[in-house]
Assembly symmetry: C2
Homo-oligomer: 211 residues x 2
Amino acid sequence: MSGVRAQQKEKTRRLLVEAALNQLSAERSFSSLSLREVAKEAGLAPTSFYRHFTDMNELGLTLVDEAGLTLRQLMRQARQRIAKGGSVIQISVETFMELIESNGNVFRLLLRERSGTSSAFRAAVIREIRYFTMELCDYLQQANDLDSEVAYMQANAAVTIVFSAGSDALDMEDSAERQQLSKQTIQQLRFIARGAAELSDRRKLSRRSRK
Amino acid sequence: MSGVRAQQKEKTRRLLVEAALNQLSAERSFSSLSLREVAKEAGLAPTSFYRHFTDMNELGLTLVDEAGLTLRQLMRQARQRIAKGGSVIQISVETFMELIESNGNVFRLLLRERSGTSSAFRAAVIREIRYFTMELCDYLQQANDLDSEVAYMQANAAVTIVFSAGSDALDMEDSAERQQLSKQTIQQLRFIARGAAELSDRRKLSRRSRK
DNA sequence: TATAATAGCGTACACGTGTACGCTTAAATT
DNA sequence: AATTTAAGCGTACACGTGTACGCTATTATA
């Protein structure tokens, strides 16, 4: 079992995955991709597709996993940069925007198929985003000593804002425009952080006075 | 020119529009609808479709206009309720959620096709949302005496949050769950309002001291 | 009243789709 | 060395798609 065969198989499987990702663009969503198109882009006969996935749906779920991986990579990268000091919000947004620039198509998948057509698909995307939100929630709760419910609301709002900005950024070619968007997003996150901190403080006070 | 003919035409045109709207659901986006499906749902022969629209694309733009109308209706309704007193944010969110419950498919169109496949389509949706944002921006600026840039950032963030919540609400069957979502959304908007008010105040102070 | 315009239909076509089936060829197993 | 396994291909099929074309029936115009 030298595995030269399994190795080849993995290789062309990658080919399919990459082919699907490459076909994504502003005008082309995953759900509008056909099995034959993907196979052709990968240089395979349509029927060979089935040796790797039963379905376009299954390929899609694989892509979502890939996207989740990228998202976790994003978090790691941001944490490293934050450890070196600087504004947490600014660093996070800038890291996110960088990753969108280099992995555009992966994010297109998450952003577009979130309210897409297939229910299994939507569920998978939503799960990845929820995971991302929860991580952020934990961080906020610990770092800023927030009420847990407040931390969740803040994390949820922040993720919504950032992902929406990311979606907008994907359709921008001008880099100055992107920078402007980054700046605005950072400010909006600060709004949210400010409001969350205040509510958390108020809740702490009312809890203390009740005792 | 009694117009009985033009009247009939308008009537079946409506039939097509309604047919398209009725076919929208969690599993069915507009871009996945075929001309033949819509025609069949309307009780027409496929080729009769062309007597009213050149394209599915053109039908789509008509639907977006319809959605814009609904959006403006929302604003009017909210303003009326606000005039009677109460929390502006709470009333706005609740009005929005009501309209989503009664006009689900119209909103599905806006929320899903925002990053959809056709560029003319995306542009139209984005335009409607921008118009909505601008209206809110004017209101905020005037009612809360905000810096204009700050007002825009607040309006933009608020619309993002509310539309995202609306999108989530569309996939909920449980009404208690929806209520919980409303509550959370209201709180998130308050975060943003708080942060915006503070920044606006700070800017005013720095402007005054500079003079 | 005679003529023109037009909403709606049925037929027909070329095209892209998913996928069933059997074959080949090379790796894996015995 | 003989046999089994399986990746990839080509052919073939039924189906749904958009739409061109000509016809009919009814309303609008002259």
